[in-house]
Every structure is written in structure tokens, then in C-alpha cells.
Symmetry: C2
Subunit: 189 residues, 2 copies
DNA sequence: CGGTAATTTCGGTATAGACCGAAAAGAGAG
DNA sequence: CTCTCTTTTCGGTCTATACCGAAATTACCG
């Protein structure tokens, strides 16, 4: 597969970002390539196009499949596996967030819960600090959980609408404070 | 400074997480220690307590100050700098998000804009894919921008309220779709 | 202006983890 | 069953970067 300069630039940059997102560079590049590809491609082809060792491609594809961002596709009359990635960026993003929450946030919350108990009354200050931290994460995951059951397309529309609100309006909504919950419920009645 | 087992556990875990969040372990541990400390402490003390080289502490404190999560405090009659961190987890979190957006998302968006132009009509498929990606990030940053001007305390209250909504209600709100914007505007009138 | 306490700079080392390539394992086809 | 194509496993390097310690710099005191 031949890469145009535009494609190459995108893939390189995407790869760089991968590192900071808990995905290694090679994996990120693979996803980028699949994302730009019109049809599913083989591991061999990925390896050649990106100059990544065949074995690395194999390992990383496996990892990406575990994450649920890459799928195998079979082509009639071809023994080789062909791969494709999610085409909807939002879908892709959700997977990343979901996984990172599961791997990083959830264990932390668990640890904080235990810590608060262990600190007990004996270390009141430490306990309170940990409790604050815990409370914050619980609020955060609370909001996240609300989004879990909403289809991506709807979520996107929501985000779009919210992003287009005048700043003033956004602020006013925030100022509803504790009344916000009730207001929203009334809104959909 | 003496660490209790509870404190140590928290600091270690926090340090581990730091790596995956674009903050190195030492820096993350330093923040954790400061977070658990009742009063500002010196670099020397941090170095001893965490067994991190004095120079590393210095470098990392500088970095953390740049990020805006650590501040210097001066104690009367003491030439040494004392350090403290933000006490509000939400505040802390906002700083992290703001910085990462600036360092990672913004440049990517910029690159995508350029890429879309360069791809032009000649590489329609690639251009469309990049355009999709760009559009997604623009929606995302749009929502984020709306939150930037809202004080943390309000934002937290908002989050809390949203997290406590029944799933059904959350879904209904999402289903307002394109009407959501107008509904929200009416809500605050 | 010394002198000392405190901080920062900087070159070198250690370490984690990504990546490679050879070899093993697996999967059809004849 | 064996031969070939494909994928996976695994031990060894290679690389980025975190971290260290000595030396330089800065800040402040008497």
C-alpha cells in the first residue's frame, strides 16, 4: 500500500499521540492506517506499509482487538486475516475512555475506599483528604455512567448542542445548582 | 516526615497512575505527598520522605509549578521554599485536562485542518475520514470550552446533579436531539 | 564582601517497555 | 499426512526518558 504525504503525516502524528494515550506508537499507527484505508488490509500489508516488524503487527493487532477498536474480516478465497477499524471517531473515543476508566479509575476508587476505612479516626486528616478525592471521582464516574447507555449518535448530538450554547446560557444552567436535577426532569416530562 | 502505611499506599498508587497520565512517577508522588500534608513542606523534606534525589525533586517541583498544581509558600524566618498543592481534586483535575488539551488535542486539530485542505479533492476518501475526525474533535472541544468559564464549584454541583439523574431521564434528555439546545435556553429564561 | 544555606543545571546511568527476528505453532490444501 | 502459508510466541536488543549526584549557581546572612 502506498502512502501519500498527507496520509503519512496523519499516521505519524497519530502515532506520536498514541504514546501519551496509553497506546504504543506502533499500535496507534496501525489504527491510523486502518482508519485511512478504504478496505480491510492484511497484517503483512500493514507491516510493509508502516515498516513495522510482522510480529509486532501481530501482537499489536491482538491488543487492538482486545480493546475492541479493530476487527478481523475474512475475504472469500483468501486465507489471510484482513483487518478494519471503527470508522466513527466518537465510537472509537468511547472505547478508549471506557477502557481507561476500567483499568485506571476503577482500581483507584477501590483503593481510596479501602484507604478511607483504614485511615479511620486515627488519621483524620489523611482520611478526609482521601475522602474528598474519592467523592470527586464518584461524581465523575456518576456522570460517566449516565452516558454509558446512550447511543453514540445521540450523545454526539447532545454534545453538539451543548457546544453551541452561548457561554452565558451555559453559565446560567450551571447556576441552577442543586435545582438542575429537578429542572431537567421537568424538561423531559 | 513519617509516612503511615495508609499514606504510603496512597502515594505509591498515585505515583503509578501518574505514568499513564503523562506525569512521571516522582512528580505524581510529590503531589500525593503534598496533598496529604497538613502544611506546606520543603523540597528537602520531600526528598527524604520519598527517597527521591534532591535534584529530581527540584526539577519536578518546577514542572508542577508550571502546570499550576503546586505553589510556593514562604514561612517567616525560614529561607527555604515550602510547597503546597491544590486541595480541591476537581480543581486539580481541571488543570490536567486543560493542559493536555492544549498540548495534545489542539495541535492535532490544527494538523487535521491542514490535512483536510492538503488532501483536497485529489484524495477524497482520506479527506473525508480526516474531516470526520476533525468534526468530532471540534464537537468535543466545543463542549469543553463551554465549561471553561464556569467556576469549579458550580461545575461540580452540575456534575453531581447529572450523575444522580435516573438513567431513563438521561436517555430522554439525549433523545431531545437537536431540540436540546433550545430546550436548555428556555429552561434558564 | 566572604560564607553558608538553598536551589538548579547538567552529564551520566539505570530501567521500563517497545520493537525486532528467529523459531514454533497453527491452519488449510492437496 | 505432509507441505506451504500464516500467525503467534519469545528471548534479546534498542531507545526514550526518568532519575541520580556532583558541580555550578543563586540567594541571603552577618
Amino acid at each position: 500500500m502506498e502512502l501519500t504525504p498527507v496520509m503519512e503525516k496523519f499516521i505519524v502524528r497519530w502515532g506520536e499521540m498514541g504514546g501519551t494515550w496509553g497506546i504504543n506508537r506502533a499500535s496507534a499507527q496501525i489504527v491510523a492506517l486502518l482508519y485511512l484505508s478504504e478496505k480491510p488490509i492484511t497484517a503483512e500489508e500493514i507491516s510493509e506499509t508502516l515498516s513495522i516488524a510482522r510480529s509486532t503487527v501481530s501482537t499489536d493487532l491482538r491488543e487492538l482487538q482486545n480493546w475492541g477498536v479493530v476487527k478481523v474480516v475474512h475475504v472469500l478465497g483468501d486465507r489471510r486475516d484482513h483487518f478494519e477499524t471503527l470508522v466513527d471517531p466518537a465510537e472509537f473515543f468511547r472505547v478508549i475512555v471506557r477502557e481507561r476508566k476500567r483499568r485506571e479509575i476503577d482500581p483507584l476508587v477501590q483503593a481510596l475506599r479501602e484507604g478511607v476505612v483504614e485511615a479511620g479516626g486515627r488519621e483524620a486528616f489523611v482520611r478526609d483528604r482521601m475522602r474528598d478525592m474519592l467523592e470527586f471521582f464518584e461524581i465523575l464516574t456518576g456522570v460517566y455512567d449516565r452516558t454509558e447507555d446512550i447511543p453514540t449518535s445521540l450523545l454526539l448530538k447532545m454534545a453538539k448542542q451543548m457546544g453551541q450554547l452561548p457561554l452565558k446560557t451555559a453559565l446560567k444552567i450551571a447556576q441552577l445548582g442543586d435545582g438542575l436535577g429537578e429542572s431537567l426532569k421537568r424538561l423531559v416530562k
